[in-house]
Symmetry: C2
């Protein structure tokens, strides 16, 4: 894509009331636009990142878990929440039908997916089953100061699993843990992301969070290096030790972290109120046992920015960068154009800075945008029949001969 | 995909209060689930259709119009609607922030896209510009009895164009007309879809609808065969003739039709209240001139079902069918499995009915689902080293030798 056509522009500053690093950098880069606190538009570059995160998650849901994708609505009848006793939770947005009827905006989809699945399940042969969606959620947060980390409207992947019994749920639950860890690895935050023991709420002893360590994190977690897990604050305050190896709190490492996903064994918490049952081999009706598994997609995008940015801007991991290559023409438009067309022919994801701007500005903006490979074409590089290539996360540049650029790039993206 | 794994099942009947043909067939096929009147979930097969429609439209927006994709939120501050005087329109859903503040759910996005674009436009050099999104809209309809044709929550593509002057708008507007006609052609309803003159509301003499002719249509339109356009009822009641060639109403053909898109010249209707201006070559500030262009994606899916189904079920056009091929094993699982794997290797989009069911049921369900090519493997076909292939829209079947199946299919999808 030509940057001269892109309608967004980078900014040197953002409003002072924007305190979070993720929002500041994403706003400055023109990745997002703030419509109100906690509500953002995703602009062309930002949407490209979102789509790439979605695709990694979708692939893992389908290929690794065999889950089936659907899309459920945001408008939910309040009556369903009365059945589950969740009609009073404070993050619900309420609205009304002109024709009469109380609605809420979905902050999660148990109240929809359970009655939906009930229409299709009858026998143990229909189980286990995993159903997921990538869809917009609404949460009426009192405060929304964390950029896209805690939105009032945000994009989420939610997976629901349905089972004959707890054994089947536990087996699936363990598989999801593995798949989640692989997802965070592919998203570029694998090394800093820990499975974290959290409270299970009213229906289970534990649930699990996935927490990515970063100094700007809102959550406190306690790393147990032996068990390679973390424990969240709520649990540690009760247990004062690692629930797994019993090591004392003083031997655990306290860290700041951002929650990038959570998974819950729901057991029969939601199948009971809706009468979600199946017939077992003996023809007896049993309640379906459930689990649910969330990843906030826009939240992950924000977390990546918090975790991986530096003082010059964003540092996108390869798999979710808006483009693989940022080609900059520094007063060498003719040669840069040729190269741009070559990249397009090879099907390489490229942003081409073909604007009339000072070289210094272009370089600064490129660092802010954070595309993994920066390729500069200038009089100086052309003297050597070369371009200058710099990886965003590295300090040093490299000269590469023009006729070897494509090969170099294909090896490095 | 294996049908034995698909969690949805077809149904012989749906509730009697479901009156529209599109909802009845899509519900019976397990394409959608009704959550309440006008609010549907899209199940695995239905979501595949939605994604294919989206992709056709997205391609045309990007490649033919050079428009840039973004996603704007559903939560809008009511204050923006007070600026445009649209705060009282009756299809708005209202809600409130816990922290204080009145919100509405987006039924359209002029109130968001104009202030957004204002942050990036400054000069005539930034114009013209086209920005689109594929996103969920909310309309608080008093009645919602048309299945996914008129949803309270529905998926829409909305494009907004920004121009220096009316000439630029008109030129773009004419290009969009051509692109829209190509989109409907690719979606399989091109021959039955007419550009239709409609009222421009308070800000323009005319706008244009795209109407697809079908007996179950809710709208009345008047075809002028000479001009190859249609005129909607509102216009014809005032003019009593074709506004283009002046032919009398009695010489026009009255038809029932479904609106599948509409486009409006907005001029400065929305740029004025938000002060959306640009500097021209002389450095003078001018209001940006705008157009907007909608296609209801879920509505198009419903319209295709209304227009193209027959007494046995849906007849999907090639480009938007959930799968290209429906492979049925009628007690010939071993050979069918082989063939299924062959199709997968070739990257052909295939649904494989590998379930234990009676042949008659499988054939009836296949017609209901409406996948373009049905391939039957049975004892009878294997005797001839063949499969039986039937196009959904044709009556006759064809025997094709097993070793020629892939070639046949690649030629016919």
């Amino acid at each position: 894509m030509r940057q001269s056509i892109l309608f967004t522009k980078t900014k040197k500053e953002v409003e002072k009331n924007e305190v979070s690093q993720n929002a500041r950098l994403l706003l400055r880069g023109g990745y997002i636009n703030k419509e109100m606190a906690g509500v953002y538009s995703f602009l062309p570059l930002g949407l490209r990142v979102i789509r790439k995160i979605e695709n990694v998650i979708r692939e893992e849901m389908k290929n690794s878990l065999g889950a089936q994708e659907i899309v459920m609505p945001a408008l939910h009848p309040l009556s369903n929440y009365k059945k589950t006793g969740r009609e009073k939770i404070d993050v619900l947005f309420h609205t009304k039908l002109n024709s009469g009827g109380d609605l809420v905006l979905g902050q999660s989809h148990e109240e929809i997916v359970v009655p939906l699945f009930k229409k299709f399940v009858s026998s143990y042969k229909d189980l286990p089953c995993g159903i997921f969606q990538i869809q917009t959620k609404f949460r009426n947060e009192l405060r929304a100061k964390s950029g896209i980390l805690r939105g009032r409207e945000f994009l989420m992947k939610d997976l629901y699993s349905f089972h004959e019994n707890e054994n089947s749920l536990h087996e699936y639950y363990e598989r999801v843990k593995e798949v989640y860890l692989r997802i965070y690895k592919r998203l570029g935050i694998g090394e800093k992301t820990y499975i974290t023991l959290a409270s299970g709420g009213t229906f289970s002893k534990y649930s699990h969070e996935f927490q990515t360590i970063t100094n700007s994190g809102e959550d406190d977690i306690y790393l147990c290096k032996d068990c390679k897990i973390a424990i969240n604050k709520e649990i540690i305050e009760t247990t004062k030790r690692c629930p797994k190896c019993k090591k004392d709190i003083s031997d655990l490492e306290e860290k700041k972290a951002i929650e990038v996903g959570n998974i819950f064994p729901l057991y029969t918490r939601f199948s009971k109120p809706f009468g979600l049952t199946y017939k077992d081999k003996e023809g007896k009706e049993n309640l379906v046992v459930m689990g649910c598994y969330g990843i906030g997609i826009s939240r992950v995008m924000g977390a990546v920015v918090e975790v991986l940015s530096d003082e010059r801007g964003i540092v996108w991991p390869k798999n979710i960068a808006p483009f693989s290559v940022h080609l900059l023409s520094l007063n060498a438009d003719k040669e840069a154009e040729k190269l741009y067309n070559l990249f397009l022919q090879e099907g390489i994801d490229i942003l081409f800075d073909d604007r009339e701007k000072r070289p210094g500005e272009k370089l600064i903006e490129s660092d802010l945008l954070g595309i993994p490979l920066r390729i500069v074409v200038s009089g100086k590089t052309l003297e050597k029949d070369s371009v200058e290539i710099k990886k965003r996360e590295k300090e040093e540049e490299e000269f590469v001969k023009i006729n070897e650029v494509i090969k170099y790039v294909q090896k490095n993206i």
